[in-house]
Symmetry: C2
Subunit: 427 residues, 2 copies
């Protein structure tokens, strides 16, 4: 396949929420209590809500910067590309990067919406979550409906309310829910509890995918307080194998045989070994641990339920059959520093050629799997021939992808420790 | 290569210490304070030391049992095969399993000897460690010197004293030290501190390998208190990637360019992806994190310093070049429940055939790498042709490897939770 003929859908990008998000979306009695953006005397833009201040509004939103200027900055809208928070600019950046469509995880509410877990007033927090989800579906995704896969955030404090929100969203055409990779880390009942069953039931009924993004429990792998941050960056995707193991051996897949869970930003190259390890664990230990999958092996259970994705993964591309080629998607991670935007198509195409990925498999990875999982059909709106890397880039010829004037406002800052980064990344 | 012609050296087995270990090995003034074995009214054999009682003497020593009887049992010597603690019986079990030689990690002191970290009296604890190491080198390994690679435990509270012990052991022909995979988890300075430099200096000077066994920091991956124990078993080897990342990005390899670290029981199939992830982390982030390996990539740093091993690892065998075939060994894990004893040679040989491992590479993995790393030369004592799987098994024809009369004393026990298992496995 030619590079220009690929059709790219990313299942893991990020939106930096614009200040106007809640305007006109909250019930009148709560209008004054909606989260809002303020600018600190130091020049940082921060969200405030319920007495809390959420720093690092950009969460590593560095797209467009030279790598020397990567960091947990920026902390102000003026330090970011407008594509981080402006849907019209975002779509131009996507086109310049050859990307047809994306699914965006939240920033200030955390990947799993756990910011709202601490509220005292559940009626207020439910109103905030519904307003957030309406904005995400109607404005962020609805403005260019062929360019974004909608995804809602849950009401983590209440599986029944979350189930109702899943059904409400599904009626609006949304089949994707972000969740946490380990509720137990948030002080909630674990995946081994029946607590979540009402939510799982709604997910199954509405064919909604449960997306668990790395770090969404607020726990990233920190080996030591004085470890360089490279350690945490290296380990991020590998540690989602903990969530995969937790789920495979849990009651969730046994009780809900059609549920689908996506390991967001989890990578794929570790999976072939992980599947061997699952099956060996079953072989050696099930006689005394009592595990039973009705004759299936745990690697089959994994492939029946778990969706995976990668930014760049040469090892995974060599093992597509073991991982399950219908379970693999591509992701871009715009605007974070692990992203290859705007040259991600070149990176993937080069690896596909190197490892002999067939055109049929490449189509599955780049867009077909994502369209099927998330009930997303951009071709119903935009003719397929206008959805390719080449067609999209031609539309925005001249768009400046190297623009980083947005970073000129960057302030001097002291050295950032791994502890600071972990706290920020999971705030 | 024929199965019978393989020569098998395991770099990770386990000794269950016999009750007489400290007899005659302690200074007179401490003779009464040595750790000792007592039998509880419930029939458990336990080590007692410094007011502490260390349960689960067998630490999962289930060799010979049917899989239905695996567990964190046995808790008494009468519940184990004699080969767990009796060197003469051990050697027969090794021969029956086709294994020429093994390196054994401790049981009751923990894999890293951290039991002695809590002592008030450092003179006493130093005497205990020296007595332990003398017993291990002189009796456990010295009785059949061609059958065991000696390995000492450190004095974790003191890098200088540990350095002296490394030099004392090296003078006795021992070039292997067990350590923890994360000293920070034990409340000690991390791998990023200069605190350990005197120990690293001694290791480098004596060409001693630093072995970090999974779980040796006392931290195993527990996702939730109610998770089934299959979760923890699955994740054990993968989580040693945290230690590998910690070390690769640390000052240790920069300051000590010839130091070698073995990831004991860490497996190998996750490594190709891990190396990609290391290099991508460097590519994307070093400009702002400031990492610098003098022009090398972190994957090269990994291969220059890190030794790996596997029990059974089809994915690893397909990626020997990336991992580095001079850095891979085989391990047996006798007498624990992940071991394939006594049919490990059959398992490895079958996989080597399936994945086309050359005879030269198989020799490296089965014995040549281990001999080089640990300065261990069994052929100087035992003619090489008598060291093969076939020759060893012929010597002990009739030895009963299915004997599990030792488990008939097994008592009924209540269901074991993952929390119990984790506590026990890391006691």
């Amino acid at each position: 396949m030619n590079l220009d003929d690929m059709i790219m859908i990313s299942v893991d990008d990020h939106v930096v929420e614009p200040p106007h998000l809640f305007d006109g979306r909250m019930p009148a009695k709560f209008a004054d209590q909606a989260p809002k953006v303020i600018t600190t005397p130091q020049g940082d833009d921060v969200w405030t809500y319920n007495g809390a201040v959420i720093p690092n509004i950009g969460l590593n939103a560095v797209a467009g910067r030279p790598r020397e200027e990567y960091g947990i900055e920026p902390t102000a809208f003026t330090e970011m590309r407008r594509g981080c928070y402006d849907i019209h600019e975002r779509v131009k950046d996507m086109s310049a990067g050859g990307v047809l469509a994306a699914m965006c995880f939240p920033s200030f509410p955390s990947f799993s919406g756990r910011l709202f877990l601490a509220d005292d007033d559940r009626e207020l927090s439910a109103a905030v979550v519904r307003a957030y989800n309406d904005w995400h579906i109607d404005e962020w995704c609805g403005t260019y409906p062929e360019r974004h896969i909608p995804m809602i955030i849950p009401m983590l404090w209440d599986p029944v309310a979350s189930a109702a929100e899943v059904r409400r969203a599904a009626a609006k055409g949304c089949h994707s829910l972000t969740f946490t990779e380990n509720p137990a880390s948030l002080g909630l009942p674990s995946f081994h509890s029946a607590h979540w069953d009402p939510l799982w039931q709604a997910i199954v009924e509405t064919e909604t995918v449960l997306n668990i993004h790395l770090g969404s429990s607020g726990k990233l792998a920190v080996t030591a307080p004085d470890a360089p941050m490279d350690v945490m960056i290296t380990l991020q995707p590998m540690n989602i194998c903990m969530a995969a193991a937790d789920l495979v051996w849990s009651r969730v897949f046994k009780e809900f045989p059609t549920i689908k869970v996506a390991l967001s930003e989890g990578g794929t190259g570790w999976i072939p070994y992980f599947l061997d390890r699952l099956d060996r664990t079953y072989d050696m230990h099930h006689a005394w641990t009592g595990q039973n999958f009705d004759g299936r092996m745990p690697s089959e259970v994994f492939r029946d339920h778990i969706l995976t994705c990668f930014i760049s993964d040469p090892v995974g591309l060599q093992h597509l059959d073991e991982i399950g080629v219908d379970n693999v998607c591509w992701e871009q991670d715009y605007p974070h520093s692990d992203s290859s935007w705007p040259t991600a198509p070149e990176e993937l195409h080069g690896q596909a050629v190197e490892y002999g990925v067939s055109d049929a498999n490449l189509d599955k990875i780049t867009h077909e799997n994502a369209m099927r999982w998330y009930h997303f059909d951009p071709f119903a709106i935009r003719p397929k021939e206008q959805c390719t890397v080449g067609a999209l880039r031609a539309e925005v010829a001249g768009h400046d992808v190297a623009e980083h004037a947005y970073s000129t406002g960057r302030r001097e800052r002291s050295t950032i420790s791994l502890g600071d980064l972990a706290a920020s990344a999971t705030a």
